[in-house]
């Protein structure tokens, strides 16, 4: 075995096919998705034109992704960047969400069979309800309550910024079973779509970017679900209100699910930035004669250095997900990946607009859209600041004593 950063020809080809398709089939609707805050109505037809098996969230249409030597998570990085290179709206209609990943991490074998398996086997979308109006990063502040009532848990509270929340097959909701017991009493509950008392207060927020991405506000009013919908439920003593006896508390399970996805978030940003850079490069090359020679030197340096920066961002992503594929610890590496890519991707897109001049920021191009879209990537699923805290734990935890 020897270190190699070369992806297999198969995966490269697979990614290229998806990317070409994304430019041709997805990008033409980028502006539509932004203006209408929704994917085009015929999104299903669009997805069906994809020459490779990207799957859809609709379970009857699902195609399985082929396996590659690199493993699932590395493959997904390539697929994520390739798919969203055309535009990001496609994610919303084919993405599965992460609720089921939480089920896999925190559920009993029965729960995994019931809620995780069908999603990966047949498709579907799941959502994740953690954030509330009064908190973002500090997940100990969960105020949604789960009260035991016979064979049910009754949920009350509000969840914000739930990706796919208004359309998912189910939402994994984090709620406190005993506020006095603090964060350890926070548990996760599977709440299927249509459950009585589960209201979609706002289907989609009015956002700076990624507008077609469903970001829902959910309201739970005396929403009763069976006790066995509590993840980790065994029917034993530990399933009552109060601190969970299990090693994995609700919050850390939730954060575990987020960690797996972090490099994919960065890959989405790289897609937006690379698309901006490629478009800007083509336009600038056409306009080369309009630049004074000394200025053109700087334009060329900028373009080359932006490509190099995106290349490095891919490396830290691959590193994190390669570890994930080997089921090795990658919490720090996943945070490195998420901290590293997104803020530089923001800068790349902004710089491309600047190099193009005032027209670079007009809606005649997509760069201004991607500049709005990209900003969320350094915020959601753990802001850049939160990632630094996580990386810091490794830095300071692993530090020797001063000699």
């Amino acid at each position: 075995m020897t270190v190699s950063f070369e992806l297999s020809d198969d995966l490269v080809g697979y990614g290229r096919e998806i990317r070409d398709w994304s430019v041709e089939a997805v990008r033409p609707y980028a502006r539509y998705a932004d203006v209408h805050h929704a994917a085009p109505d015929h999104w299903r037809q669009i997805v069906e034109t994809c020459p490779v098996a990207i799957g859809t969230h609709d379970r009857r249409q699902v195609k399985r992704q082929p396996a590659f030597a690199e493993g699932k998570w590395v493959r997904d990085l390539v697929v994520t960047e390739s798919l969203t290179y055309g535009d990001h709206w496609i994610s919303n209609v084919i993405g599965a969400g992460i609720g089921h990943l939480v089920v896999k991490l925190m559920g009993t074998p029965e729960q995994i069979d019931k809620w995780y398996r069908p999603i990966v086997d047949n498709g579907g979308q799941t959502a994740f309800g953690l954030t509330e109006p009064q908190f973002g990063s500090d997940t100990s502040m969960v105020e949604t309550t789960a009260t035991r009532d016979g064979d049910t848990w009754v949920l009350n509270g509000t969840k914000m910024y739930c990706t796919y929340g208004g359309q998912a097959d189910y939402v994994v909701v984090f709620a406190s079973t005993d506020k006095a017991a603090g964060p350890a009493a926070i548990r996760a509950f599977v709440v299927p779509k249509g459950t009585s008392g589960f209201h979609v207060a706002k289907f989609n927020e009015d956002k700076l970017g990624i507008r077609s991405w469903t970001t829902s506000e959910l309201l739970f009013e005396d929403c009763a679900i069976p006790v066995e919908n509590q993840l980790g439920w065994t029917g034993g003593d530990g399933d009552g209100p109060g601190p969970a006896p299990r090693t994995r508390s609700g919050r850390s399970g939730a954060l575990g699910a987020l960690a797996q996805n972090k490099p994919n978030i960065s890959a989405t940003g790289i897609a937006m930035a690379q698309a901006s850079l490629d478009i800007a490069t083509d336009l600038l090359q056409e306009q080369r004669q309009s630049f004074a020679p000394h200025r053109w030197s700087l334009v060329e340096s900028d373009l080359e250095n932006m490509n190099a920066a995106l290349g490095r961002a891919r490396l830290v992503n691959f590193r994190a997900q390669w570890l994930q594929d080997l089921q090795r610890a990658n919490k720090t590496e996943a945070s490195v990946a998420k901290a590293y890519g997104p803020p530089t991707c923001e800068r790349v897109i902004r710089r491309c607009m600047q190099l193009l001049g005032p027209d670079g920021a007009s809606t005649d191009l997509l760069l201004e859209k991607w500049y709005r879209d990209v900003k969320i990537l350094d915020i959601f699923e753990g802001s850049g600041q939160v990632q630094r805290i996580i990386v810091g734990r490794a830095v300071f935890g692993g530090a020797d004593r001063v000699a």
Binding site: K207, A309, E368
Partner: protein, 376 residues
């Protein structure tokens, strides 16, 4: 005499503009953006400040402020909404250039109307993109002989191109290499106005911006200041217009810091206000530090503009403009970051400032003043 205090009049202008920003512009920002035009009632109130048509009292205006006053006014208004502020300033460009550089006849022909018509718009066709400073503009204003001048070139980000009366076009005289400007009436032939982008312009939708191509001949009466105009006056006036964009960017950035700081004081995480975390508070401290440096740099360049066309003025203006563009884009970005998910929602204005500052930073950008640097 070394002096860093604004004059009493400048302070009054600052307070007035900031007050107008808070009372009127902030609330109208969303409307101006949605309708892609400054609401009439708002325009009327900004008109009364004189910014949309600065003119001397002889011409029915309230006087032409010095450059620093102009910049202070613009920074103040931009704390309410950079889009409306920049729309007003750009519209006022016609009156400003005519008042500062025009012949007496031109001033009488245009200024009384501009200074009294509350619905009128002016505009300046200035920028060319490609990092060009004014001295590098490729738009030609060239004497063909017999008092006829050829005007030819393409301008970007031309505000109010379809309605400005007059639209003032800035170019260079290839014979002398000096800056020249032409007064273009709205019905002139040889002016091809590109379409307005269908879905807007990031954060600058309060003002219509067009790419405009000029290819026409004009008479000497349309030559700003006449055939013997002193180029130095125009260099200064153009410097002022360029710096105004920087002032708008700084106003927007400064307001973003205030807003994000207030949010960070109130928002609780891990048992403390966000402001108690240095990872948050240092972002805003850095922002405040940069804004202070940026504003002083802007003021210095503004004072130089009024000191006449001394050497290095254009480069000083370019430095101030590019630093402000870069600082404002980064500061407004960090303000969104401080608000986290809430910052991404249109319920808070920081997302608008993020857009506006980035758009402003593209207007007059030259990569020689700051190359790309990755975040890490």
């Amino acid at each position: 005499m070394f002096e860093l205090d604004l004059s009493e009049e400048q302070i009054a202008v600052r307070d007035l503009s900031r007050d107008l920003a808070t009372r009127v512009l902030a609330g109208a920002a969303r409307d101006a953006e949605t309708n892609r035009r400054v609401p009439d009632e708002v325009w009327r109130q900004v008109f009364e400040t004189g910014l949309t048509a600065p003119a001397s009292e002889d011409h029915g205006g309230g006087g032409i402020p010095d450059t620093l006053t102009h910049l202070v006014a613009l920074e103040g208004l931009a704390t309410g909404d950079p889009g409306i502020a920049i729309a007003a300033m750009w519209s006022g460009g016609s009156a400003l250039l005519v008042g500062l550089c025009g012949t007496a006849a031109q001033q009488y022909a245009y200024l009384p109307r501009l200074a009294s018509d509350r619905q009128g718009r002016g505009g300046v066709a200035l920028y060319e993109g490609f990092g060009r400073a004014p001295s590098e503009y490729q738009t030609r204003i060239e004497h063909l002989g017999s008092g006829t001048w050829q005007v030819a070139g393409t301008k970007v980000a031309v505000p109010f191109a379809a309605e400005a009366d007059p639209l003032v076009l800035v170019g260079t005289d290839p014979t002398t290499g000096e800056l020249r400007a032409a007064l273009i009436p709205p019905d002139a032939g040889g002016v091809a106005i590109g379409p307005r982008p269908e879905h807007g312009h990031l954060g600058l939708d309060a003002v219509p911006l067009h790419t405009v191509t000029f290819d026409l001949t004009i008479g000497p009466g349309q030559l700003l200041g006449g055939p013997g105009a002193a180029a130095g006056l125009l260099v200064g006036a153009v410097g002022r217009l360029r710096l105004s964009v920087a002032a708008a960017a700084i106003g927007c950035a400064a307001r973003s810091v205030e807003y994000a700081a207030a949010y960070a004081n109130e928002r609780i995480a891990f048992g403390k206000p966000l402001a108690a975390f240095q990872g948050v508070s240092f972002l805003l401290a850095d922002a405040a530090i940069q804004i202070e440096a940026c504003r002083l740099d802007l003021w210095r360049a503004g004072v130089r503009v009024d000191a006449g066309p001394i050497g290095g003025l254009e480069r000083a203006v370019s430095h101030a403009v590019n630093y402000a563009g870069s600082v404002a884009a980064s500061v407004t970005r960090d303000a969104v970051q401080v608000l986290g998910g809430h910052g991404f929602m249109r319920d808070h204005p920081v997302e608008r400032w993020y857009r506006a500052a980035a758009a402003l930073s593209t207007i007059d950008f030259d990569p020689t003043y700051a190359a790309f640097a990755p975040a890490l």
